[in-house]
């Protein structure tokens, strides 16, 4: 096999001087510095706000803009009368690769609707945010468009969302107790939660 010898190009005297390259580098950094300084000063004076002076988002105060398709925390969509769109078909629970969804289906009071999720839990500590549940849902009952990113908790239990939180993304732990016959009524009751899941399930 023929050996191909690669030679590095010899640097010219001008390049060996370093100084021109150093000055070129300084020119770039200085251009950034003075442009950003000017923009910071302009922002302080209240003008040119649409030109960003830094790539940084000051996160808690200034949320990062999300793309429309961004997958954030789940929510369950509701019908006009307030019942969840979910019909308890179990497709999302089946497709979920992380097995973080638990559904218990029950009889819906409206005979036109077949079933109803008595219980719909998502364990965010297990969820991989793949979005398959959204893709597979025939009823457009689950979406990942809440824009909620700050999901953090001190225990694994707090990472589990029940149907209350899924139907009303504004709710935060700790939740009160719910003893209502149909869980969605909690939402209709204006967040006044009085009830117990396990009782309903039994």
């Amino acid at each position: 096999m023929a050996v191909k010898v690669l030679r590095r190009r010899e640097l010219s005297f001008w390049e060996k001087l370093y100084l021109p390259a150093i000055l070129a580098g300084l020119k770039i950094t200085s251009a950034h510095l003075f442009r950003n300084l000017f923009l910071h000063a302009a922002h302080a004076a209240g003008v040119l706000r649409h030109h960003r002076a830094a790539a940084t988002f000051q996160y808690p105060e200034e949320p990062r803009p999300l793309e429309p398709r961004f997958r954030s925390r789940h929510r369950l969509t509701v019908r006009e009368e307030g019942t969840p769109r979910c019909v308890g078909c179990m497709l999302c629970e089946t497709v979920c690769p992380a097995r973080c969804i638990t559904i218990v289906a029950g009889e819906h009071p409206d005979p036109n609707v077949e079933k109803y999720p008595i219980r719909f839990d998502i364990d965010l500590g297990v969820c991989v945010y793949c979005g398959y549940c959204v893709e597979v849902c025939p009823e457009d009952a689950i979406r990942m468009d809440t824009g909620i990113l700050d999901i953090a908790a001190y225990s694994r239990d707090e990472m589990k969302l029940d149907i209350h939180e899924l139907m009303d993304p504004g709710l935060r732990k700790p939740l009160g107790e719910c003893k209502l016959r149909f869980p969605h009524e909690c939402r209709l009751a204006g967040g006044q939660l009085t009830g117990d899941w396990d009782e309903v399930y039994k």
């Binding site: 150093i22 580098g25 300084l26 950094t29 200085s30 950003n36 830094a54 790539a55």
Partner: protein, 365 residues
């Protein structure tokens, strides 16, 4: 007695200014690097909800440094380990005594030279202090009882001693041109104009010496692109075994040396406290116009001229630090011994020739 008070006041002013500037350098370092990299930089430290562009971060740093545990490694030499950071800071600070930051101030019947110590060989004094700073570094590496720290100290020593030679020889050109080692006299010597309009600053007469000086002096400060002794992110430096304020003192020394280099560059090459076209009785512009200023205004203009130039140099060194990558150690030695050293010697020879043949009774001496 009152002479002593005046000297104490001068020393107080210089140390107040220098130490505060060194503290501000931590802020400058964070903010300037952030802004030139399109970031925002430290801005979270607040007092009563005021953030003032992150200016409280140096304060928070100081509180942190002073309250941190001070660890002396087991088996380390306690005395030398404690002494090393003091050596570093002391010599870096003592060098500032010889820097003239203004022309003489006449206050009543008293003539005050705006310089803490009027030393005839101020330049030698400054260089002696800068050289002694090496002891802090090598002691830190030696007393830590850590082989990596020792190696870092050796790297630092080799680097500083190598570059001091180029530094010293670069300065000889300036000393030859102005014919004195007294920094105040060197600054006075830069007050003449060439052809009536070009200020006779050191950079005009000794441009090559300026570049050699700045490069070698940056290497003396042990900061990027010459930060091989410490190498914050990758290699282990001579102060690994230091914590708390002792580490803070090494940190401070770096900034003090940067300011020192800025002061020296200003004094030797950019006319020190000279303002272009300003003579003690007022401005004399090359187009013939004259504006007379009072003595106090003249002195204040001089001091602010000096401060401005020093700040510009501090900015420039910070910009260089955040622009260039680090040298490799062989490149560093090659640059020092095969690059700067011959150039500096050639510069001295050339200066000597020019002075001997073309400069009979020069006008700016």
């Amino acid at each position: 007695m009152s002479d002593l008070l005046v000297k104490l006041a001068l020393a107080g002013i210089v140390f107040f200014g220098v130490l505060n500037l060194a503290g501000l350098h931590t802020w400058l370092e964070r903010k300037q690097s952030a802004i030139l990299q399109d970031r925002i930089g430290a801005n979270r430290a607040s007092i009563l909800g005021f953030r003032v562009m992150g200016l409280f971060h140096p304060l928070a740093d100081a509180v942190k440094m002073f309250t941190k545990e001070d660890i002396v490694p087991a088996g380390a030499d306690r005395v030398l380990h404690t002494l090393a950071p003091f050596f570093s800071v002391f010599f870096a600070l003592a060098a500032f005594a010889a820097i003239p930051f203004g022309d003489r101030l006449i206050w009543g019947d008293r003539v005050i030279e705006l310089q803490v110590a009027n030393i005839d060989v101020a330049l030698l004094y400054v260089f002696a202090m800068l050289s002694l700073g090496v002891y802090g570094v090598i002691l830190a590496g030696f007393a830590s009882r850590n082989n990596y720290a020792l190696l870092g100290g050796l790297r630092a020593t080799a680097q500083m001693i190598s570059y001091e030679i180029a530094l010293g020889i670069a300065i000889i050109g300036v000393v030859m041109v102005y014919g004195t080692m007294d920094l105040q006299q060197i600054v006075r010597g830069q007050g003449h104009n060439f052809g009536g309009w070009l200020p006779g600053w050191g950079i005009v007469v000794q441009p090559v010496a300026f570049f050699v000086f700045v490069t070698a002096a940056l290497a003396e400060t042990k900061r990027i692109p010459f930060d091989l002794p410490e190498g914050e992110s990758e290699i282990i430096g001579y102060f690994v075994e230091y914590s708390g304020m002792k580490f803070g003192m090494f940190f401070l020394t770096d900034f003090l040396e940067t300011i020192m280099v800025a002061c020296l560059a200003t004094t030797l090459f950019f006319g020190g406290w000279q303002v272009p076209y300003l003579l003690p009785d007022g401005f004399h512009f090359p187009w013939g116009q004259s504006v007379s200023v009072s003595h106090l205004t003249y002195v204040v203009l001089g001091v602010s001229s000096f401060s401005t130039k020093v700040l510009v140099f501090c900015w420039l060194f910070m910009q260089i630090r955040w622009t260039l990558p680090r040298f490799r150690y062989d490149q560093l030695m090659r640059l020092g011994w095969l690059g700067l050293f011959p150039i500096a010697v050639a510069n001295v020879l050339l200066t000597a020739l020019v002075l001997a043949f073309f400069d009979k009774g020069s006008s700016w001496r």
